[in-house]
Symmetry: C2
């Protein structure tokens, strides 16, 4: 009997975002692994074991799932959003590289999903409609100087910026520091979008400017999009404005 591991992206919120490919991979599993709140999104099935773990245990979770697959089980490891974007796929690849040689022979299927930036962008228009950069603001695994260099490179290059992991309890000040760095490169009126818990019952969306962005609360469930100098607002009566980045660009921002 040969085991296998499916890494499954559940999308940003409820079952509306779960693809048929993800549903099929969930249904085929003997054992489910994942961060507890993501596992809670998956309906229980008889004969499936469930192995929830904490948020900061990506490496241990990947190793446990791989070890179970190497024993012959059909294992599903679930991620919110897409497993390849600041989620479990990189942790699994790291574990395979460092682990027993037999792990390289496992069937590993990665099932993509709708990652948070796509869901937030869809709520407001098309802020990612032109070239953009995607950056985690966490400095748990990289030096803050590198974060700042990348913020500057993105802004100078005229890229829109999608920011994951903007804030945590251990890092309450970094988003403000990032906005201050970006103000050195971008106009004060640059649109900024905060999307929190998109696709869930407690979803909230805020559209503001880089000048006023410090006033909007954010947490680890928030995805922030900072426009380029070309990003535009279309006011609408009684609704949030549309926020979009035109398909054409002249490079005015650098």
């Amino acid at each position: 009997m040969s085991g296998r591991l499916a890494l499954i992206g559940l999308g940003p919120g409820d079952a509306r975002y779960v693809t048929p490919q993800a549903e099929a991979a969930l249904a085929a599993a003997d054992a489910l692994y994942g961060y507890g709140p993501y596992l809670d999104r998956v309906a229980p099935r008889p004969q499936q074991t469930r192995h929830p773990s904490d948020n900061r245990e990506e490496g241990a979770r990947a190793g446990a799932a791989l070890a179970r697959a190497a024993e012959g089980a059909r294992v599903a490891l679930v991620s919110g959003g897409d497993p390849g974007v600041f989620a479990m796929a990189a942790a699994v690849c790291e574990a395979i590289e460092a682990g027993p040689p037999a792990w390289r022979d496992l069937d590993v299927e990665i099932v993509p999903g709708v990652t948070a930036m796509l869901a937030v962008a869809a709520r407001v228009g098309a802020p990612l409609g032109h070239d953009f950069c995607v950056l985690s603001l966490s400095d748990n695994l990289k030096p803050w100087s590198l974060v700042e260099r990348r913020l500057a490179a993105a802004a100078e290059g005229g890229f829109v910026l999608a920011i994951y992991n903007p804030v945590s309890r251990a890092r309450p000040l970094q988003l403000g520091t990032a906005f201050a760095e970006l103000r050195r490169h971008l106009p004060a009126a640059t649109p900024v979008v905060f999307g929190r818990a998109v696709g869930r019952a407690d979803e909230s969306i805020a559209v503001t400017t880089l000048a006023d962005a410090d006033g909007v609360p954010a947490d680890m469930a928030t995805l922030v999009i900072v426009g380029s100098a070309e990003t535009r607002l279309v006011p609408r009566a009684g609704r949030n404005p549309l926020v979009y980045t035109p398909r054409s660009a002249q490079g005015v921002s650098a």
Copy 2:
């Protein structure tokens, strides 16, 4: 009767990638608009009219769909992948901004989907596992000098790079020019992934290096991922290597 427009992402290939949210929006429509090959992916329903158009007609297609919605119809405009990433959402926002004021009062729902880079990344591991940039290589709507500046900014910033629209019949040489520019900033051994028609019957995946990337054919259905200096390969017997970018970074690439 008040019309509405749903902009629907079908994902990169077949029905496995179509979310329940997208299915529901398709089922609720009176009229379907889209690039012909994308419309062909949608099963016909009685009482639905279908309005296919050509690839280069985004602005006209957006205007036609909005005009029909303004007449009171429930219109669905389909995109491959995600509508917000080099697809129809920006064209619709542009048309709303430039069009009759009544278009701003329409209900516009954008349904996100799995965009090509996520599907290609999932096929090979986790190349987008750390910070990355997303760039269209088309210079139909921006000067080539801006493309080159962004390639340099992405490479110098140590970002992985996902390249959309790498080649067309009118632009056969630009991908090679881009690789030459990137070789000025990145090691020759930097992993490069070509994913063509992922999720479709004629899917192909190639993993090579920046030094050898010119030898791999590409067309408009190809998505190219160029690693950073930190992107790694994990060899596997009898399969493509895993390609991944570690979650931790030291900024060695700049």
